[in-house]
């Protein structure tokens, strides 16, 4: 009699895989990349490509040296590279891209155990390191105005978050929405980001909770901190990297909480911190640090917030009745 394979139940698995999820994230990031190329030219493609290739290379290198299984096929390193590239200004030199990739993959990801075990978002960690090391090349003067859809290009321009950038002679809300503003390659075009968001929702890679709560919280606190005004919440949500960060960075699986309540607190914290940093700190953009800070809080949230276990609530109630 033939012997059949004996494995444990369940005998059926989802068609999804780590690779398919990462591929979907790459697809969702594509509109941002295309928008970046439209606004800032083909140089932006080069910046992103350098980041992607070097991230994948560093992952491969580390795993070869450490004699670990090679995991570059799961595309997670490519996603990190793409995220990093899209949060760089188009003027970023190639060596900065490579240093950033090394920090992301080697320091933030692999040293902590690779995929799933990193407690900081690799791309954002790299961005924070670059921002602290070469502030002049990562913000402010590094941002060129887009030379597409109208605006005349100048060598450099202030980000809309810099004081006095909005209003007379500055940027309109439509500019902010379309992306006719200076900024990093991927963050400027809100339409592209929203397209990616919808794609991620449809493919069920992420749920709407974290991005929506972050954006709402940022808007509300931006409005409160800036003393009201009808347009302030919209401006604060459409400017800077908040939308890109909320959709693509804060939803990173490894570094956000696993429970629903944990995710709500996580997202609220990011929104609040972003608004606080923007208003009260000496630095106009706070999303990077807000997300990284909440990344650090995540293990605590996962430790202390546990989902209610079946039968537990009723148990407590009954005990209360007896007492």
């Amino acid at each position: 009699m033939t012997a059949y394979s004996v494995t444990t139940a369940p005998h059926i698995r989802t068609k999804e895989s780590t690779t398919s999820i990462m591929r979907n994230v790459l697809i969702a990031l594509t509109p941002c990349l295309i928008a970046g190329v439209c606004f800032f030219g083909f140089l932006s493609l080069f910046v992103v490509a350098v980041c992607v290739v070097s991230c994948v290379f560093f992952e491969w290198l580390f795993e070869v040296i450490m004699k670990r299984p090679i995991t570059i096929k799961d595309l997670s390193a490519a996603v990190t590279g793409m995220l990093l590239g899209l949060t760089m200004p188009v003027t970023a030199p190639w060596w900065m891209c490579i240093i950033g990739s090394a920090v992301a993959i080697l320091l933030a990801k692999q040293l902590f155990g690779g995929i799933g075990d990193n407690f900081l978002n690799p791309a954002l960690t790299a961005r924070a390191v670059l921002l602290a090391s070469w502030p002049g090349r990562m913000s402010g003067a590094a941002f060129v105005s887009p030379n597409f859809l109208g605006k005349v290009d100048s060598v450099s321009a202030a980000t809309p978050l810099a004081p006095g950038a909005m209003g007379e002679g500055g940027y309109s809300i439509l500019d902010l929405f379309l992306g006719r503003i200076p900024g990093t390659i991927g963050e400027v075009c809100k339409i592209a980001i929203l397209l990616g968001f919808v794609y991620l929702l449809v493919t069920r890679v992420i749920s709407w909770g974290i991005p929506v709560i972050i954006v709402l919280t940022t808007g509300v606190f931006g409005w409160i901190f800036n003393g009201g005004g009808i347009t302030t919440p919209i401006v604060s949500v459409l400017s800077g990297g908040i939308l890109f960060g909320a959709v693509f960075m804060a939803t990173d699986y490894s570094t956000c909480p696993m429970t629903a309540l944990g995710q709500i607190i996580f997202a609220f914290g990011i929104g609040l911190l972003t608004a606080v940093i923007r208003r009260f700190a000496g630095y106009p953009e706070g999303v990077t640090y807000a997300i990284l800070f909440m990344n650090i809080v995540t293990p605590l949230l996962d430790k202390y917030i546990k989902p209610t276990i079946y039968g537990e609530q009723k148990e407590k109630k009954e005990v209360a009745k007896v007492a």
Binding site: I12, P257, P307
Partner: protein, 445 residues
């Protein structure tokens, strides 16, 4: 009416048919095997003690094994003929079990019927529970828990609702569905008998909405029967899990570490209720059941077979395998154990057999956890499978216990949904067994 559902869960194959379309229109067909091999562990608890020997001529329905221990049940000959062996045989469990093999003479020579006790509506409630034991009835949904034990409750406890489980949420299986269509009146009568035995006024028949015909048939059968109603449930796995079913139908939750009776509910399978009717009104023991034979077989079918029929013979009867078969699952895809060969026998609780080809049977490679949280969101109990798995991998029993691994119902949702294809459910089952064993050994010291 609002269709009710529960927290978490998955749709393993499709939102509507779940692999059931192969056999859902196949009425149960009678199959008479040449031999039956009846294992002595048909039910949960100590195996029964054979009371026949090789060479004996037995009649159909004759007691061939006596109950042992508190959970014990008698076993009846499912066919008439000669006992050709009483010997140990490998079934699906880890150890060989004592089995009685009878050569079927196909004469259906009947044993003297059990003493009549009246109908489901007139029988003395005390006699009903006794009869259920005499008839060897255990839960036919999978766990094979002896029904009379479930119905014997301590004085301070009481049941106010009996739920018949007609969810059949597992993939592929349609045996309960066919039973509901073909024996609707018997199911309702059996439910009434159980209600009367438990002095209980509510009887609920819970059915998933992917079986509209069964819902209609059961509603019709329940008409005019005091206290009996049909509840329509939104199709989702694991709806048929006892705890989930209780919550969706009554809004109650079974307290942790307790039994359904602690929230005043008794749950049993629809086929079990039909068996109760036969035992009470027709004085017949449980010796046959409907089993689905499906997947990669030539003609997928529902077969009404004597307990102890070989799966090999059933598959032959269905025209043999359709192509190369790589895996054979006894039950549905989510919880059924895989069988090393088709040389095992139908028990009272085996609802079906699914044959899978090499592509379906392909083992998946376990990748690292990416912390996506899908397992947390599908767990119907509200556990964090990802975290428990870390403790299981680290061999940390205390940690796994503190993260409530003992609450796991081993439904398989987390493993199913994991994009890294981690063997979550298997680890938890293993860990639960080890913890149970350790506490037993600890108790002996």
């Amino acid at each position: 009416m609002i269709k009710r559902s529960f927290k978490g869960g998955v749709h393993p194959l499709s939102r509507t048919h779940e692999g059931k379309q192969l056999t859902r229109n196949k009425a149960a067909e009678v199959f008479e095997p040449e031999f039956v091999t009846i294992p002595m562990n048909l039910h949960l608890g100590a195996p029964s003690e054979p009371c026949v020997k090789k060479g004996d001529i037995v009649k159909e329905r004759q007691v061939i094994a006596n109950p042992v221990g508190f959970l014990g049940l008698p076993i009846h000959a499912s066919v008439s003929g000669e006992v050709v062996s009483v010997a140990e045989k490998q079934q699906l469990g880890p150890k060989k079990v004592m089995c009685i093999t009878i050569k079927n003479d196909k004469l259906h020579t009947l044993e003297e019927p059990m003493e009549p006790i009246g109908t489901c509506e007139t029988a003395d409630p005390k006699r009903i529970v006794q009869r259920i034991k005499e008839a060897g009835i255990c839960g036919m949904g999978g766990a094979a828990f002896p029904l009379h034990v479930k119905l014997t409750i301590q004085d301070e406890k009481y049941a106010d609702t009996i739920i018949l489980n007609g969810a059949e949420c597992e993939t592929h299986l349609t045996s309960d569905f066919r039973t509901m269509l073909e024996r609707s009146d018997d199911i309702v009568a059996g439910l009434r008998a159980i209600m009367r035995a438990m002095n209980c006024e509510n009887g609920v028949i819970a059915i998933e909405d992917n079986k509209p015909e069964a819902i209609e048939a059961m509603k019709k059968a329940a008409e005019g029967k005091p206290g009996v109603r049909v509840v329509e449930l939104k199709t989702k796995y694991p709806q048929g899990s006892e705890k989930q079913l209780i919550t969706v139908t009554t809004g109650r939750e079974v307290p942790r570490g307790k039994l359904p009776i602690d929230c005043h509910v008794i749950v049993t399978n629809v086929a079990t209720a039909a068996a109760v009717k036969s035992a009470v009104e027709d004085n017949r023991p449980l010796i046959r059941r409907v089993t689905t034979v499906t997947g990669k077989v030539k003609t997928p079918m529902n077969l009404l077979v004597p307990i102890g029929t070989s799966v090999h013979d059933m598959i032959e009867y269905c025209g043999g395998y359709d192509g190369e078969v790589a895996k054979l699952v006894a039950g549905g895809m989510m919880t059924g154990p895989a069988a090393p060969t088709d040389d095992f026998n139908i028990t009272k609780a085996m609802g079906g057999v699914v044959a899978l080809d090499a592509k379906e049977a392909e083992a998946c490679e376990e990748g690292p956890c990416i912390r996506c949280g899908r397992c947390v969101s599908v767990c119907p109990i509200g556990l964090n499978p990802s975290r428990i798995k870390q403790y299981c991998d680290a061999n940390n029993m205390e940690g796994a216990k503190n993260n409530n691994v003992m609450d796991c119902i081993v439904c398989g949702c987390c493993s199913f949904t994991c994009p890294a294809h981690r063997y979550l459910t298997a680890s938890f089952k293993n860990m639960k067994d080890r913890i149970t064993l350790a506490s037993r050994l600890g108790g002996k010291k």
